[in-house]
Symmetry: D2
Subunit: 448 residues, 4 copies
């Protein structure tokens, strides 16, 4: 049975605060949405710890998945309406690709777990690998995809890992201006209540066009693309790189690390029973173990841990749950060597610096031209000129050229706010605190 055979007689509509309506007109898509694998994403926050800083941003990956699907659907419609394939290989849009594009858009985040970034770091998992497994192994999602064909799950997975032969479909899902980013920038801006991420989605979609090697933009829409590049940068600088967000990620990271170390030291320890985490501690996870995790599972264990005998575990769990962030200061190459000195002072003040300090470097390259020599070369954005030739964005946009190639962000050292003497203190540690503070000015480590 083909994908088209399962088109619905009447569209089903999801109301969405970002896109207004999300329209589903095919039974395959509807069935995929109703799988436990996708429903699980309702229990995983899109922005992890960020909601502890931007309290409005409590939205889950479920809405984002629907949103990415909806943008893909609108792109397919736009392409089919304006640039339908006339002869095979003419570089225009072949609407037979719609099925694989829509499914890939809907399922692209399927493998995400709770607080993915941090969790993966500690437990050595990888959400992309898991996404692929959920699509291609024996799951509800897989059974539904196989209604299209036996090869279909593998095709969908190959779009997500960039190996699908049609570059238009691949770029729709993963490129500088893909359905993933277009949805999350809008969605995160809406829920945080910032307007930095607002991009003119209608306009961006309107100027997109399929070309032989992927997707280009009509040069008449250059300003909408500039706006997109800048908006994305601003979301990074103002939301994703927020120092307090990073501080809470440090706490989460150290909390999980402490639990892991405790378990490794005394695996028989019955003091805490994170049943659903056990496979991860034991490094023997099945796909089902992974699918059983969500934000609530983790925070439930954290609640138990606040009563643990181990002081560090209990304290870190309390700091995370009740939002008691570490403080941070900026450092650079000239002051990085002062950090061990600061860590000594922190140790003297009674904190285990392994668990109560950390560094984090967050940088974003606003845009760059394609450079195959780089570890992770960015795809570049191509504009289509009236004479049919392509031109790379930063070569015509003064604005993008200005910001191109310069990574923006900072490097921060995190430590307990007690060191700033902002909390009650005995006189005992006062001299230590004073020395610590003498190394800091304007939220930055300074040399004497």
């Amino acid at each position: 049975m083909s994908f088209q055979d399962e088109n619905l007689q009447k569209e089903k509509v999801f109301r969405d605060p970002i896109h207004g309506t999300i329209i589903v007109d095919n039974q395959i898509i509807l069935d995929l949405i109703n799988t436990p694998e996708l429903q699980r994403l309702r229990r995983i926050k899109q922005l992890g710890t960020t909601s502890l800083i931007f309290h409005g941003a409590e939205h889950s990956r479920f809405g984002h998945s629907l949103g990415a699907y909806e943008i893909a659907r609108r792109m397919c419609n736009h392409f089919q309406r304006n640039y339908p394939q006339l002869t095979p290989g003419d570089g225009r849009w072949d609407d037979k690709e719609r099925s694989v594009a829509l499914c890939a858009a809907l399922l692209h985040d399927l493998g995400h777990g709770p607080f993915s970034h941090t969790f993966e770091h500690i437990f050595n998992t990888n959400h992309e690998t898991i996404t692929r497994k959920i699509i291609t192994q024996d799951t509800n999602v897989n059974r539904i995809l196989r209604r299209v064909s036996d090869q279909f799950p593998e095709q969908v997975a190959s779009v997500i890992d960039h190996t699908y032969p049609n570059p238009q479909v691949v770029q729709m899902i993963s490129s500088q201006v893909d359905v993933d980013r277009m949805d999350y920038l809008q969605r995160d801006a809406y829920y945080t209540g910032t307007n930095y991420g607002l991009v003119d989605l209608d306009r961006v979609l309107q100027v997109m066009r399929p070309i032989k090697d992927g997707i280009a933009f009509d040069i008449s829409g250059m300003h909408a693309i500039e706006d997109y590049i800048i908006s994305r940068l601003q979301m990074y600088l103002q939301v994703y790189f927020h120092p307090v967000t990073r501080s809470l990620e440090v706490i989460l990271d150290h909390l999980l690390m402490r639990a892991k170390h405790l378990y490794e030291d005394r695996p028989s320890l019955s003091e805490f029973t994170p049943d659903l985490l056990m496979p991860f501690f034991n490094q023997a996870t099945q796909l089902d173990d992974y699918l059983a995790l969500d934000d609530g599972v983790l925070t439930t264990y954290f609640q138990h841990w606040t009563h643990a005998h181990d002081d560090i575990l209990a304290d870190l769990a309390n700091r995370f749950l009740n939002r008691i962030p570490l403080k941070s200061v900026i450092y650079d190459q000239s002051t990085v060597n002062l950090i061990p000195q600061l860590q000594d002072l922190i140790t003297k003040a009674g904190f285990n610096s392994k668990y109560y300090t950390d560094t984090n470097s967050s940088y974003k390259l606003p845009y760059d031209t394609y450079n195959p020599k780089e570890a992770n070369p960015q795809s570049q954005i191509e504009l289509l000129q009236p004479n049919g030739e392509l031109v790379e964005l930063s070569s015509v946009s003064t604005l993008v050229h200005s910001v191109s190639g310069h990574a923006q962000g900072d490097e921060r050292f995190f430590f307990p706010k007690e060191m700033l003497g902002e909390t009650d203190q005995t006189e005992l540690f006062a001299p230590i605190y004073q020395e610590f503070q003498s190394h800091i000015q304007n939220h930055t480590i300074i040399k004497h």
Copy 2:
């Protein structure tokens, strides 16, 4: 130390998608926000099961609490700017009431637990009682409030339970147009992506004025109040009373009931270990037990239960987590007597009708004049005329008069969708399904 003594030198600002900025200018308020008791509200969804229908509405009670505080702050400012007390008892605003008003607004939802409505039904708890306990017993919140005075916690609690002597403060927190409703209507509308709940908050605040007996509205703003009444009604009809929301509440209710019954039957059963729920099963809860609950804790146990030996428990947990709602049909007085007959058919089709069917009646009175004879008399809305006399809203507003006194809503009977034969089925039950369906037309139970 007085509340004013703890005013901040520089305001602290929370960004909020609904109100733009939430301004905190007092250390007491800031410290209250940072208590574990208030931070816990981040882990409790404002709308419970509604986010399973309106996927955007995953916001928590934490943001709502801040929002209610912010509206109260703006009201105090508006009153103090325009109607400051000149002589005691003149019916104008005494700004010394600001402290108790702001704290009550911020803390009014403190006692809510996960899926409160349903949870309270099963475990016989009451969020209002718990709110009072958190404020007046030995908690972080209480310790902070006592910095103002020993009587202050009790005063704040008395505002929330309507016994505080100043009627302006009481009505600010609880009345037809209070800070609670004004925030949640806007917030729920924003997050669901509907615009029914949008009210002209600026305008409503602008026309509010303190009077001797509470709060009235300048008659020049009558239309803004009309709009508020209608918007509220529409949110009830379209969001809060959504049949699928109610269906998932039925499932949740029956799931918890099943767990409770299983535990009561065999309390030693080790099959499921909902540690944090035990005090509730045992009916021996402390305040701390209650504070340890949140949405994630419940759904974590539900995950465990999907693997339970008890089929009903496992199935209901699965239906709730993976959003497999019951279907529903409308009935009225003339068809309510057909329900036992339908339940028989459902039993014949293999479902335990105690757990798989239910009825629910949801009605909202759009507005009513004060009627002391009613069980739960609504406060009425008074408008202030140019000559200084008050007039009751529905006596001058044709629109409000039209909808006044007529409750709106419906009564529904819930049952498994299998009965509609929409899912795969053996031929075995086909005749039962057919008979069942013959009693239903246009989503309504009909007589033959």
Copy 3:
């Protein structure tokens, strides 16, 4: 050449604050937009004097025309996607109707002139007649429409005056829920900065469906239609019926009337030279005379008239241009007979009551069922039930039933604000003012 033959290879997009993008994909539509007849609508405010009260609402009929077109385009797409005609006469959508529907939507307001309501009253013109003339007589618009066929202009005109045979097309342009109202409610709400008029356009469109006799709504969308009915009512009560708007319309009406009277008395009077109005004073207008008028033309003459020798003309022109409204009070059947008495007092205070007083009755029927006996029967709204039967809206919606059949609004008497003694005054008139004010309380005429 058919309409389809002129489809554009690439869509042209207008950015619109209400609809995001307005997409033109046909050369006929593009050429119609570029005619002087349609461009003229840029110089005619959508809401006339309302912008003097809601200062944000300075938008013109041009944007509204594009908006109505865009909604029609989306309706055609929705119908064609979901309910395409399978066999002639099956009551589904015949996409050959698209051309006439889109042109009628775009052109439906073509005959409007400056401050139409008032202007038509004084000069006995009629914008509907003029719309028909512009479409069917020798104009740029007509020449473009005739590219489709010789009959096409007449067909488009017949849609606008409800005589076109296909009821779906007629109702798309003129019915309770037509493209005209759906656009202007949203647009006027956006520009006034009120949110009363906000309707869930996506949702309303989504539940529309063609039926044999026109257009019905899926009953699942009933709440969206309720919201539409109520929003429309609120826009009437709060924006369109605003007393100050009506006051400025009274002034405008009397200003034009005074000019006409002056001219009729002394046609040779060279004192004012409203060249472009002359044909209207002389009651010998050609279509071109009408097309030469716009808001700016009228206000330019008003500026000249502020220097006129005739005191009344000069004063009324000044009041209109510089926004010096009359005051108003409400009356009803029991107090209407007091108006002559009030007018006497106004005359005694030195005002020509013919020009300085007036009455205005503004009522809106929120909704009504079809009643062929009424002068101007409203079409009723039909909902489609799952079993395929239609049901009239107010028979199932408690909310609509509540407001149905009860006209809302008021009757007001307008007079100079000097009578309220709010401006400087000699003692001379003080007793007159006092007597006048004794008849008024709470902005209402009262009996002694």
Copy 4:
């Protein structure tokens, strides 16, 4: 009588789509709003010809004036709440400056006429000079201001021309981040329907603080200022510099120039009677002449001129009124010398190149540090660090540094679209058109 003496007992509120509510709490402000001089701004579009491209942007300078006032009011409140003067000269906010600040904000655009930029170019007028005259000469505005004191009008005027002694007040009205720009960026974005201009006004206001030399920003709000700088740049590139807007300004400029030339050649010419423009043609204008002009007056004359005997006057008037823009191509230093050659071809094709061609150079410096050597040095933006020291924005913001000092924009040559052969043409001019087009590629002049 002091300004404070005229504070209103009850605030008056204007509803505004951008700021929600505009609050007036002083009779002086209310009376200024009601002057004919300020009401006249309702008849002058904020963005002139831009509404011909962004059809939603038909808003007038009146709303902008109210908006600038409202932002100034909020700034004063924020300053007074957080940084009230404690001792004279302490660099904090002296609330006695409120009166002059609010009046200057409200009146800063008073001297603008219709299509100011172009009009001033042709008739050698200057809106800043006229603003000063309206404030300081015998006008309604002046009479109201003098209620505060005889010196008050001069003080208000001195704020607007930057000579007022208090730098905080001056920078509030004129600086990189002043109430003028903050209002118009938001307002223009709202009405055009673009979101480039959206800035986080709440956040920007929140981080502003008075300092000795004017106004600085708390460094914690740096990202909000970055966003402001970039948003402003994007509004320039995408809205204010739109090529079609500039094209219609060229037509308007040439139309007025043609009229002036015709009048200078034959002053007795009675063919057109632009009575209200005569003083400008005669270069003998009084303030009242200027105040009699508005957009409608000009377009009324343009309508008359479409029937003029002079072909060029009639054609240009028609092109302007009916939106028939010139086309444009980009040139630079290497191709500017080709323009005379292109003009020759245009002349050969039958157009008077003096009236039908032009060049326009539009560049915007996104941000620059203060450079006293420049003709028009920009004030720079200073951020306040935790240790109390100021730091210049671009020295800490990588983003602002990237765009700083590089002017963005382009230079364009305008010509009739007939040259592109897009319109019907006789074969006569075909070779000329072809040669012309051979010099153009990708909307740019190219060398052969």
